[in-house]
Symmetry: C2
Subunit: 331 residues, 2 copies
């Protein structure tokens, strides 16, 4: 079996290691490359956001409320709670006649340490729009409003919003309703348990689909990568450097998904232990190997801070790194 591992080194010794499973597929879902168990079932978490946002675009809610590329990027994103992110989430809520207390997501320390430190120092009470998922949730509320559905309980399985999202997830992943395991995400919305291969299939399709909604969403993400994550974060830096060659979205617990539209491929990976430090190095290792195999020029070398993050002592001296070892098996 082919393996991909992220090693954490300290003073030249491998102190810890992380096993990664990977599926790289074409738009038919045929495995093109793999590592570990490409059929591994886990939750898609935030890497599902483009597909959770798709109904809002396809059903006309985005157009109705005047949401452009910036709003779509935020809805597909896991933002860092920077002022621009919070302001945009608030304006999406206003546009569809909702208020912050209607967001079902709970607050959490901002994903950006700098933003988190600043908020704590300023004594800010974190509210739901600070959630990294507030763009997605604002989009789901807009969908409910546009259809005239009750906004109450929009995050829960069985609500028309979630039924509509579920249909879309089935359509892009090619999975039946029975094959999808429904769970509850950290932000309390429904999350979807499915195989890496199925996640990758959805991304392969997202990358090349001629459907207007798919085109709008992927263009929003690559045009406004700063709204999909935030300053210095891997999704943002990768999509900014790739200039449309990669559409990428991280998920919680070590999941990362991406599309490479030029070759019609999609990929999904899972750091088996869920370590979010390790999914960016894993993604960049996969992109490097696929790029080499297909003769693509993907921006991996210039993203060294994400491909091989430096580990430091409490005084900031470099002491080791995270680094990928192992090779995908290409079919």
């Amino acid at each position: 079996m082919s393996t991909l591992t992220i090693e954490a080194t300290r003073s030249g010794l491998v102190e810890s290691f992380h096993t990664v499973s990977v599926a790289v597929v074409d738009t038919e879902g045929t495995l093109v490359a793999q590592a570990g168990d490409p059929h591994r079932v886990t939750y898609w978490r935030s890497a599902a956001k483009p597909f959770q946002t798709m109904p809002m675009v396809r059903d006309g809610a985005a157009e109705h409320y005047g949401f452009g590329a910036r709003e779509l990027a935020l809805a597909c994103g896991s933002h860092s709670s920077e002022p621009m992110h919070r302001a945009l989430a608030a304006s999406m809520l206003r546009a569809c006649g909702c208020e912050e207390h209607q967001l079902a997501c709970g607050p959490h320390p901002p994903l950006s340490q700098a933003v988190a430190d600043e908020a704590m120092r300023a004594g800010v009470i974190l509210t739901p729009r600070w959630s990294n998922c507030s763009g997605k949730h604002a989009g789901l509320l807009a969908l409910a409003r546009h259809h005239g559905w009750d906004t109450q309980g929009y995050e829960r399985a069985g609500h028309p919003v979630q039924e509509r999202v579920l249909d879309e997830v089935m359509r892009w992943t090619g999975q039946s309703r029975d094959a999808l395991k429904l769970g509850v995400d950290g932000c309390r919305a429904v999350c979807f348990g499915l195989s890496l291969r199925a996640m990758a299939t959805a991304y392969a399709r997202l990358g090349v689909s001629p459907e207007p909604a798919a085109r709008q969403l992927r263009e929003a993400m690559v045009t406004h990568p700063e709204l999909v994550a935030g300053t210095g974060r891997p999704c943002t830096d990768l999509m900014a450097a790739a200039r449309g060659a990669v559409v990428a979205k991280v998920g919680a617990e070590g999941v990362y998904c991406a599309a490479i539209p030029e070759v019609g491929l999609g990929l999904a990976l899972k750091v088996e232990d869920g370590d979010g430090r390790c999914s960016p190095p894993a993604l960049l290792a996969v992109l490097r190997q696929v790029g080499e195999q297909r003769g693509l020029s993907l921006p991996v070398a210039e993203l060294r801070q994400h491909a091989e993050p430096v580990l430091r002592t409490t005084r900031g001296e470099p002491i080791g790194e995270l680094r990928a070892t192992g090779a995908l098996r290409f079919h």
Copy 2:
């Protein structure tokens, strides 16, 4: 091969999993039970603190500076930066005529989230005595002072303080100098790379050794568990509940070590990916299995919050748990 795994569940599905290696040995270092690779080499990190503190006791520095059980417990501990911890570290420094700026350890966000939040809200500038390792470092400075060694560079390999610590680590682990890999810890002191079996051997010996210094240190740890970690932390709660039946110390990157003096056993485990959330459930699973096999009454059932920590949404609803599966192989 026998395996021990910590599973992270969400809505009834295993979302992530963590592989654990374990060595359980007697005082001769003979394997009594194992899981994964008991010969796995990794860094001992903070689980080495009792042995890093041993020279201070054996060489008379502790007695000279009036350090009793409380100071010894703090020196063996990775404290939560609670006021009692910071005050005691400061008083140890004063006793040996040192000042805070001489501590080589850098500050870091307190291990207790409550203490970290409070410090951030209060706008506190974190200084070295806030480091979870400040007790150990104060002890190393006391050792240098007592011997009349230069305190400058006490944390680095080759300094007489670290040579003395290295001798002690060799003595308790039974490892030659060549077999020990020296690295730099997060707190900048020397850390030691060695096998889980060797770490476990040192703990088995610490638990039953008739040497006065070993007895003083283990009694300090079990008498003042609140100084070895802090409010609500696993080392503290376990040793408080075990009433001397277990001497336990966590290390960074998923290491946990313990002694069970009643049966002369020591154990060391490593969550292979280094996840510190998972080492307490792993330790309690190992203690439960060893306890059952040896007919011991160890306090595992009453520590459910550490044995099976609940995972929650951002609004605090329970959504899953960490739980151990798999069995040790007993010889």
